[in-house]
Amino acid sequence: MAFLTAFHQNKLAILGVAPVILSSCAANSSGVPLPVVAAKGSTMDLKMVRQHVDAASVANDQRRFADSIAQSRAAIKAMGDTYRSANQIDDTGMKLTLAEAEAAKGNMETAAAMLLRVAKVRAELVQLKEPAAR
């Protein structure tokens, strides 16, 4: 994990997430891992969210459900309520509640899939609110 900046490692530590190499930014055209550069502002926060979502997706595909859950939770936590709009009916909280209940029951595959879905949906809603963050 030497390619991660100290700042980013610290961010991940705050979120309680083990850093992983992310599929979408793991390598440049030469195959050399690229550093994830964190910066101030919502755009960079959204980048971090995307990285968590991507990592969750990869972990889910590899059936590493605990990792996937951790990454999705980190993405959801990072977004907070920023995805919400007054003119939108938001039921993602109910899906999140169900996902966490499934995790508590040990149904990790269902929980991982649902948490990933919530994280993706909320990230999509953040993008809709902040087109500049695309």
Binding site: N87, D90, M94, K95, L98, A101, V118, V121
Partner: protein, 263 residues
């Protein structure tokens, strides 16, 4: 958001036929043939409105805009709401469209009424977009001179990867959207089951969206931890949220919804 009621009424106001809420923020619905002013009676305006509401109803008659008027209290809300077969067809079609490719995708539409006839209808099917857990209603009326806004209908789909749950009731977010959006009702369909919140004169004018949603979700989580299934927990939480915010709460199917809270 769209204007409701009398000419010149401002936007974002709940529909209020003046039966129960004289002086309250809200539009006076001047197309209501059952308006107390039109009736010679010694009854109070509230009594007149409720008596007329009941008298106008027969077993299979669809509810009209009058039935969706803001009641004084939850206990004054109609005991039953019936959507017409045409509206119900739209609800069912929206539910059937909620799993494209096997993945959940909320659907919905805007509930309106025709000012001249009081007939309840549906517009803007599909709204402005949706995700598996959200719906963005389009509340811009096609003809504001002819129609007025009542609220929003939407679906609560859970696909197989999410457990395939049905009978999932309204969320805290649904309640907050309706309250803050100054709408009269919000309806959800999950499988064949349908749910509705109706605002009352006792309902707060606005609420903290995050707080309402979080409290409702926490209650669902707590109930599930005690052994309730998700759908049952959602219904209990919705009923309790209704009590907390002085909403009337309905459950039903096939367009016929009965008031569950208050009993």
């Amino acid at each position: 958001m769209t204007a409701i009621g009398s000419a010149g009424a401002s936007v974002n106001r709940p529909f209020d036929p003046g039966i129960a809420n004289a002086g309250r923020v809200g539009c006076v619905f001047d197309h209501n043939p059952l308006r107390p002013d039109d009736v010679k009676s010694t009854l109070t305006p509230v009594q007149q409105g409720e008596a007329l509401r009941e008298a106008a109803k027969t077993k299979d008659t669809p509810s009209t805009a009058t039935d969706f008027a803001i009641p004084k209290t939850p206990a004054n809300a109609p005991s039953q709401i019936r959507f017409s077969p045409d509206v119900q067809k739209v609800f069912d079609a929206q539910w059937n469209a909620s799993f494209p490719g096997g993945k959940s995708l909320e659907q919905g539409a805007t509930l309106t009424f025709e000012k001249k006839t009081n007939t309840v209808g549906v517009q803007n099917v599909g709204g402005l977009g949706s995700t598996s857990g959200s719906f963005s209603p389009d509340t811009t009326l096609k003809d504001p001179k002819k129609d007025a806004l009542l609220g929003v209908f939407h679906t609560h789909p859970y696909d197989k990867t999410e457990g395939g749950h049905t009978g999932v009731s309204l969320s805290g977010g649904d309640a907050a959207y309706m309250i803050n959006g100054k709408q009269n009702v919000i309806v959800a369909q999950s499988g064949t089951q349908q749910f509705m919140f109706m605002r009352t004169a006792k309902t707060p004018a606005s609420v903290d969206f995050a707080k309402v949603d979080a409290a409702n979700n926490k209650r669902i989580g707590d109930l599930m931890a005690k052994g309730d299934d998700f759908a049952t927990a959602s219904r209990t939480a919705a009923r309790e949220t209704a009590v907390k915010y002085n909403l009337a709460y309905y459950e039903g199917a096939n367009g016929v919804l009965n008031r569950i809270s208050p009993k």
